[in-house]
Chain length 111, copies 2
DNA sequence: ATCTAATATCGTAAATATACGATTTAGCGA
DNA sequence: TCGCTAAATCGTATATTTACGATATTAGAT
């Protein structure tokens, strides 16, 4: 199958990638847990979610690849934290698009 | 495969669903086109995107199912418009989660 | 040196998304 | 009525995501 994603604007590609990372409730839940728990929760996330350890690890990788979290290996453990800068950047990009959309409000003759 | 999405919070499920609709550059592009073009563009979207008609139609359906756009059938044509209310709702929900995340900023001992 | 606990990775199965061409549907105009 | 145009839907191929169990990896503790 041909992948056409590269043919769109970079801003659109960037937002799409982060939106994809936010497109599963488990990953949104993980972000909230990481914000709530002091000292950067690691494996305890598994205890808080109805998912297997390997699945949680997979979701964490997904979030890390999207840049939304950082992970620091510490012996056999790994410490995950939110990447506030990346979250802020996403918020800004999304706002950029949303305000553009709202300001261009079409005076439609139909719906 | 077991689908575990239903086991998460409704807020998380709702945001995830809209985020998924925003997770492809073609769909973000469509939203911008709908905002820009007066009179609610319909088939001309196809001319503006590097995708086949059937693929664009599929993306439009995806956006409509997520509630982000409305479509009004008018003879053989269909007129699509943004659903500003839904977009506003999503913005609010996302802000809710993001401000929660930011206010809970963890004082971590690692990253 | 070995055991153990915490994670990551591998292999795999099923579900969903992405893309296309071909076909169907619907109403308009000749 | 017949074709035309616009759009939706179908069928299909491929890619990606989601989920799990099993296995590998890593470093501290015994």
């Amino acid at each position: 199958m041909l992948n056409k994603k590269a043919e769109f604007e970079v801003l659109e590609q960037d937002i799409a990638q982060v939106a994809k990372a936010l497109s599963h409730p488990a990953r949104l839940s993980i972000l909230r847990i990481l914000a709530k728990e002091k000292g950067c929760m690691c494996g305890d996330i598994v205890d808080l979610l109805p998912l297997a350890q390997s699945t949680v690890s997979q979701h964490l990788k997904y979030l890390k690849d999207a840049g939304l979290i950082k992970g620091e290996v510490d012996g056999p453990k790994t410490c995950y934290c939110l990447n506030y800068e990346a979250i802020q950047n996403f918020k800004n990009s999304l706002n950029e698009i949303f305000t553009e959309i709202e300001s261009l409000s079409c005076e439609s003759d139909c719906c």
